[in-house]
Structures are given as C-alpha cells and as structure tokens.
C-alpha cells in the first residue's frame, strides 16, 4: 500500500536540476476545479504524486517551493487520515460471530424468501410463510390445504405459491378455488408482506365431510 505519510521527505538530496517536465503536465487533462501552480504543474498531479509515488521519482517536486507548499497544504488531511487508518475498530470478533450466527440460523431454517421490502432485505422462512398461507386457504369454507410451496420468481422479491388442497363439492370448484386464491393473496400481502405474483392451485382430494356435523345435531345437515 502506498500509504506512507507524504511528509516523510527523502533523506538524500535530489538530483540537482533533473529533467524538467514541460509546463502544464503534458497530456494530462486537468480535472474540474484543478489549478495550475506557478511552476506549471497541475495541483491534482502534484497531490497524486505525493501520495502515489516515491518523492525521489520526480526531483522537481522536492525542490520546487510551489509543489512543496501544495503538498504541505494536504498535510493535516493526511495526518488525520493516517490516524483514521490506524484506528483498530473494536468488536471485530463479535461482528464476525454475529454474522456467522445469522448464517448458521439460516442454514437450519431452510430456504428463506425475500419480503417485499428491498431496502431492508427482510426474509421469512418458507416453512413459516407456508403455514400462514395454508391457514388462509383453510379460512375458505369447504377447503383444507394439503401442501404449500413458495419459490422466488425471477429477480427481485417476487414469490410464486403452489398449493394443493382438498375441497368439498357442494359448490362449483372454480368459485371455491378463486376464493382460496384471493384469501392467500390477501394474507400474503397483509400478514406477511410477501409480493406473491401467482398462486397455482391443484385440487388433489375431495372433502367428504362437508358441511361438518354440528355438535348438537346428530342427524347431520346444516343449521
């Protein structure tokens, strides 16, 4: 790292009048706000050289009072920067431990899905989200959710839900499936904050015991 303090001057005397580069560093475009020193050098170049190159590499900057002054102008910044570099941030090990605790917890939890809040990068375990969405499906009368899988859909935070369920046949299935889809979408957005783009539903079984028997109604039938 070329991070040595530029104030450290070379101990050996510079070559008397080394080859002078042409005024206004040839071929080097100045930056906005740059300045040509009275010696013809660009301020930006002088600062760069002071930080990047060994001072002896360019004898001019060692002998030239203007360049010296320019470099000394940055001395306070450089000294404070050196102090900043030397600061050993506390808690490095604690930080590494916290990171690895999160990583290991995620490995135990299984797949994590992004919530629709990209700034915070919040995640939810697929198993937890699936449980909530199965309950949302169960809220629809005449339906019992069997399985629920969630997979990320494309880039961003979009998620696709695939669900299998058992449904009663006392009403047309398409209506009931639409109700389930709506209930799942509502719950995903409201309860979880998941951006669900699609809910694929398969009816895999018939719910025979529907409508359920009322507790005080041994003969069956609705109330």
């Amino acid at each position: 790292m070329a991070l040595d303090d530029p104030q450290a001057r070379p101990s050996e005397p510079p070559d008397a009048d080394g080859p002078r580069t042409s005024p206004i560093d040839a071929g080097v475009p100045p930056f906005a706000g740059d300045e040509v020193l009275p010696c013809g050098r660009l301020l930006s170049r002088v600062w760069e050289q002071a930080r990047d190159a060994a001072p002896v590499a360019d004898p001019h900057t060692v002998t030239c009072p203007h360049c010296r002054e320019a470099v000394e102008g940055l001395a306070t910044v450089n000294a404070a920067a050196q102090a900043l570099r030397a600061e050993d941030p506390p808690g490095l090990q604690a930080l590494a431990d916290r990171v690895m605790n999160v990583v290991r917890a995620e490995i135990r939890l299984g797949r994590l899905l992004p919530l629709a809040d990209p700034d915070r990068e919040l995640r939810i375990a697929e198993s937890a989200a699936a449980k909530v969405l199965r309950q949302a499906a169960d809220l629809v009368p005449g339906v019992r959710a069997a399985t629920c899988r969630l997979v990320p859909a494309g880039e961003g935070a979009d998620v696709r839900v695939t669900m299998a369920l058992a449904a009663a046949l006392d009403r047309p299935l398409p209506d009931r499936v639409d109700q389930v889809r709506q209930s799942v979408l509502d719950s995903a957005g409201r309860d979880l904050g998941l951006a669900v783009t699609a809910v694929d539903i398969t009816v895999v079984d018939v719910l025979e015991s529907w409508p359920p028997l009322g507790p005080g109604d041994p003969t069956g039938g609705g109330t």
């Binding site: 306070t76 102090a83 690895m100 990583v103 700034d119």
Partner: protein, 172 residues
Amino acid sequence: MRAAEGDEDSFAVLVQRHNRSLLALARGMLGNPQDAEEAVQDAFVSAWRRLPEYRHSAEFSTWMYRITINRCLTMRRRRRPPPLPLDTVAEPATGDARSQPARSAEQDAATEALSRALAELDAGQRICWILRELQGLPYNEIAHVTRTSEQTVRGRLFRARRSLQEAMGPWR
C-alpha cells in the same frame, strides 16, 4: 470457492479476512461505529444469501466492497437526524484492550473533524477517497468497485482532497 457451495466454515474464513477493511469503509461512509457495524453485518449476510449469484468474474473483496457500499448508501438515505452530537464525539472506543496508546486530544479532534468533513462529501467522492486513502486500493480497482473509469476516480479523488483540505483548514 467452497463458500459458494454453502460451506459455512469457508464463509467464516472470508468474514474474518475482510471484516476489518469493510468496517473501516463503512465507518468512513457512515461516520459512526454502530451504524458501520450494522451495515457490515447486513452486507455479509446479504453476501451469504447471494453467494449462488457470485460469479468469479470479480474478486470476492471487490464484490464485498460493492455490497457494503450499497448497504451504506441505503442506510444513509434512511438515516435519522444528523450524525455525531458534539458531546459524544471524543468518547474512546469502549474498553478495547487493543485501543491505541494515548493519542493526543488534539489529534482525536482532528480525526473527528476529518470524519465530519468526509460525511459532507458527495457520496462518489467519499467512496473514492476512502478506498484510496484508508484502504490503499489502486485506481483501477476503485474504478472496478465503483463501475467508473480511472479518470473519473482520479477526478473525484482530487475534488475530495480539495474539499477536505478546505474543511481541515482550521487545523493547520
């Protein structure tokens, strides 16, 4: 890289290897140690989740620099009231056994002043300055991390130095 295949022990090695420099970067960008730790922790966790996307086209460190910088920029956007009330500024790092041998109060204050001046810089300039002056990255690597040209990096560095020099004027 085995970490990319879900080997958490390999990832732990990477965390140990890079957390010091990333923390320094985040500290420079955010100006306070608590936010910096949060940013670096989030950056590592995010990197772990995105490891399957990590292509070996970039160095891991370059990739991590980018993630950390983005994290810091997001945190700054959401940030609460302006940083560093003056009375908390001089508080030394809490009881760290490895903290520096007594630095002069004046130097502490100058360092704080530099941190504050840094916080005032435009984000692009601040990032370039930190990567160059605190991390010692060469221009081409800074250009790679920030997805710009070396010429842009050098221009930003110049303007950063100029602003910092002016801000540090009273300390000369």
